[in-house]
């Protein structure tokens, strides 16, 4: 169960409300790099957690913290929308700066929410929950989490750079710090699991994978190996310490696929079916061309 003290984790302050920055902040709420995503991702990982309970609890602690992040960011959006223009009246349109700001706003801040945040990104695209990665594999999930926090911290750094409001900079410095911690903590789990956690999932025996191709960098560029020679991913021990990298120029192990004619009961064109005159004529032409070429 969950409880709230109704207070903000961070004391949000906005010195110069800016509706364009409100729009930018939406990315940190409802963007794929944002807080709803990490919150729900950690929750679903926790709620489906199997194995040692300490991982479930670790996830729950941080998921619960993330609700507070959405909350104070939503508050920051609303505060940046203070005094935002909400009409296109001529006086504003004639003012090039005011008009420009209005035209650049997320119109849903005016039309749909009454100057508050909503769970969409900086383009107004609603967050969709297909971005909640919870695979049931603790190592895979940890990589998903590091990825989320790494792109999240990059986003926060860009927001920090974009604003010249001191209150917003302080808030984002806090976000960035938490993103640092969260990156580190998921990596610490992977360190604890040790190199034997690779390749993920480590419960599938490598003896059953195709051993001719499991440590080979495949070259698909027509100029050959080029600058890919002697790279850490083409030579030496792989990070899992179980294999040695090598390079191969890619070549097909299979033939041209041939799905044959269509079944009449699937309603392609007659020309795609065996036994029709047009199908047969076309097929012969194909064969001839193939033989000749």
């Amino acid at each position: 169960m969950y409880y709230t003290d109704k207070k903000l984790q961070w004391n949000v302050r906005v010195d110069k409300p800016n509706p364009i920055f409100a729009r930018m902040l939406q990315q940190a709420i409802g963007g794929v790099e944002g807080e709803i995503r990490v919150c729900m991702q950690y929750f679903f990982q926790a709620w489906g957690s199997r194995g040692p309970a300490k991982y479930r609890d670790m996830l729950l602690n941080t998921a619960t913290e993330e609700i507070a992040h959405i909350e104070f960011l939503a508050t920051a959006v609303a505060m940046n929308l203070e005094k935002a223009p909400v009409s296109l009246q001529e006086e504003i349109s004639k003012d090039s700066i005011g008009g420009s700001v209005l035209n650049g706003m997320d119109m849903r801040h005016i039309l749909s929410t009454g100057l508050s945040a909503y769970p969409g990104n900086s383009n107004g695209v609603p967050f969709d929950m297909s971005h909640i990665y919870a695979s049931g594999n603790i190592a895979g999930d940890m990589y998903c989490n590091v990825a989320a926090e790494a792109t999240g911290r990059t986003l926060a750094a860009r927001l920090y750079h974009a604003t010249d409001d001191d209150g917003m900079k302080e808030m984002l410095a806090f976000n960035i710090a938490r993103d640092t911690m969260h990156q580190e903590q998921w990596l610490a789990v992977l360190e604890e699991l040790g190199p034997t956690h690779l390749p993920v999932p480590n419960s599938f025996p490598q003896s059953m994978e195709n051993k001719d191709f499991n440590y080979s960098f495949l070259i698909t560029t027509t100029d050959g190996v080029g600058n890919q020679a002697d790279q850490p991913w083409t030579t030496g021990d792989a990070p899992d310490t179980k294999g040695k990298f090598n390079v191969k120029v890619a070549s097909p192990l299979g033939h041209e696929p041939n799905l044959g004619f269509g079944r009449p009961d699937t309603f392609g064109q007659k020309e795609q079916s065996e036994g029709t005159v047009s199908g047969a004529v076309n097929r012969v032409k194909d064969a001839v061309t193939t033989i000749v070429s």
Copy 2:
């Protein structure tokens, strides 16, 4: 530019076509753990790549390989749909196995594609490109890629286990091997970048982040630290070797937020606006309650 030899990277063989397995395989094509995702992700990372060219080329090599993965999986779907039932006629419905198979099929394999693959997952949800993570930060992108390949290999292992068709098992053993390699190669880049790549992005100076909270595991569980004491993420050096973990019980740094009354020109209810009788009455009630409680 891109070229094709029209041949399959893997020689797909299906001994016992199974339309339910065709549906399952869709997850590996159009699921978030699937091949369209990694293909497009690596391409967009390559096409936006800045800095050392060898990373762009590494990404291009593998992105181009992934097209071939989509291709042979699509072929495998079509081959598993050979002889699939396409009508609900009574004889089939009376057959408990045939009826069960038909009822469990992805109906779009019958209705929309004429027994071929399409870019959706095993529930028929179309792949959407918001899952293409390409942040412009090489380290963040590498973690996104490891995450994609770790969940991808987990998916492939589950598909391998789900089928009893030897041809499919062989194909998936190849997929699993490639997923091993791709995990390793992205990790090798991170190893090459060394621990100084953390926290991502390493171009944002840590001196500017909030230093009171950047290595603190925050406890939001009401029973306190519990099993989170003395864990690799609560004590000792952080993976970036730049900080030491500690634990703090979370507490609010801010107050209860108060966005005040609504502006009349945003068309909340009158009761939400300053100066209305109902608004004032409610506000007084609130104040009284707060004082009393």
Copy 3:
């Protein structure tokens, strides 16, 4: 800020794990009538709340409760997936019941989550956050909330009826009870606001709306008023007590629209542009036909 005691709000018990019921339960997690929706809807209404604080706090209390609902439903999904078949091996396919169950499962429970819940509905469609209604108008939002709880309770009743597992029935009886309460509490706010809350928003003066059509039921059926005469919505006082219903047969107040020719710089076909021979010929034909007919 938010806290958790790590315990479930309801003590979930599953006597006869059933993977098909697990799929059904997903609707209550990630469906539009489900718990993620109400949780996030109440949170965003609270976080953007303006006016009397008691409404914000009311919303926060219930939003925070709803997290616990998602949590115990997710647990119930995982418990219903205990012992689920995860492979298509021939023995299972030959068993008509086992095969039917496997074929009817949400394959992502096998392939993507490792037998746990995820934030999608019973068809695997991920929840998308455009369903979070938070308009900044307390009355409108209350109706959105009643709507959510009314469809939510209907869903829960259908799930209750669908299962024959005593543990699940007990859990759903709790859900249904909470949905009762939540319906009632949002309605109680509307009662407190009184009939003057209508029409929503009550801050837009009715003197400015079109007074010829604001209490008229418009008939668009070609057989006239029919069974719509003397209905509570066609005669008598309207619920807001500010107007009296009447009935009008709908008729156009405007003309046929005519957007004219296309501008050449918008790249329609030449035939759509003024001054082209083909455009002129067509236009003349139109005019003639119109005159004649």
Copy 4:
């Protein structure tokens, strides 16, 4: 069947075409508060209607009217796009007002439609039909409809306020009037059904719901009842007149969930499975911590 007289329900007039207002109007066409939504919602409710025919006919009358609303709004969008800039040529960019307008436009009005409307919202997000609520329960559906019209009228009021074009204001005054009527008519049905329509669905016997929690407001805030005491939703008769409200401080009825170890055939990490050394070690550590704490 359906018929059209090709005329507009409202005589659309635009005095000062404004491409930014065209973008805003899209919200009223393809937004979740817009006309496509109510049109399709009422149609699907009508087409699936069971029980008294007068409800089906009521819904059909209004659904059919709503097509005309989409139509005249689409016309208004096109008329607001008259004379819109369609190129970035330098002269325009140098003009701060003209340039600002162009930059703020929905680019798809230039690139995709040739200066006409399309079924997306003011951010260009296409309307998706998951917003069509038609539950098969007449009372639940009526609340969904009131919610749609309440947020719809709020949107129309905001649009009315945003424009300074007399023609647009007149059109929106008509929209607002119709939204008034539609709110009232759905509420009139609920009044006709009487208080026994609650809780929705009234066909699920309340004797079977959990009677300990069906009229209890649950407190999840850590400061206790606070301003929620003596509110219309915490004391007195509930709106359904079947129960009395009370307040309870929320507490868990369940334990910490424990899903146990992962099955080896679901391909979590080995560390998550029973019988592995690492799994066992971790499990012991957990147990010890739990005992100690």
Copy 5:
């Protein structure tokens, strides 16, 4: 404006209700090949129509007809759901046919609609309005319409084949006939426009397109022209009669792209920025490799 006589365009009859066929029929309602799509597509084309009025009226006539198609299909879905199983009780699960049917149903027919249709496809994916193609170009739109009706008639043929219910077959024979007509009518417009409608848009002067590549079939297969020689698309007059087809082996007209280093203010990794030691070292390595290879 629009009107209805409340009657069905086709007299729907279902002899043997089949919930699996109900699920299949959803594709014809809410699938991309379905009736909502054509209805809304023709409406938006009509509402944005510029140029000769007869095209607008043609579109309006057929768009209005299509509402009736959605209507009778929705009725057919509801009628196929008569007597559908709505619970998982043990007796049904033990029955291999009944269980199979239940497990194969669209669970939202039970849980969300109460045995009626909804605007989603046979996998429950809601229709989204991005599929409404209305480009402002009459010729392009006609091709979109032919495409919609061609895939629509293919879908209807597959549904016809899938059912063994005489009532459903008769209804679908009507749908198929209408799809024939609609294909033909859009093609008739293209015939009327004559070959000069190509290439679409014909208002962009071909003198301004790249004349070296506007009638060339480009070969990207590594085995050269092969069976593409002497095909109707590689030799002879093009359909627009304005050019002659030829074949070219594709080769790059550009260089390897080089986006250079990342700007520090965009927060890639330091290694991606000019002037950093690591960036420089990597760049040198690249250069050396390029020179050597």
Copy 6:
């Protein structure tokens, strides 16, 4: 399998980088008229191709070319973002032109990609793969492809007109030329198939479709035939040469639908169920009204 030479198909040059044009170009990458769509559409058509191999190979050649189109457009987006403003600092805001540009940018170019392209459209809506039309019917697919290229060329013409950058104009002149060719080549296939390809699918015998309505233009406008008389789609031979067009005023072939009462186990309101007092009373009222009217 696929290969790359790492070079661009077109030598992209940007003389005056313009972040607004970068946003516009996104439509050509991730819009429904864009390059990802045609690329993936042709690939899935090829990978599911049945019948004559030359069609598969034709599709593969062009699909493979389209990857290169996405590539050079992505490069063009990145180059247009050179020197884009990435912060809202006061100096920029005070500059009406610079500020206007910043406000009109796709913020994800700053926040999510670090000044590179991503697979979304000019409104930031991610491309979703439901737009990949691959029906298994070669004729239907060709019409889908012509439609894609016709709307694609219209988009490219509009982009050409929108920019005043010579490098961009040259690149788009190449795109437009390729769109010309691709339109022509798909039409050439349809010409090769001859008029017997109609109606699509030609494998469904027309003797089984409803012959009373397969060449009839149905009038649903209340003013009758009007300007639809003597049009190419209402009189004369249909394009398939198999039928003659005629006109009919539409009239219902069915009755008012009546789905009867709701089953109690589907949890509508009691009033919707047979046998309840309220249901009966309502039903009688309906009957009386119907008789009277």
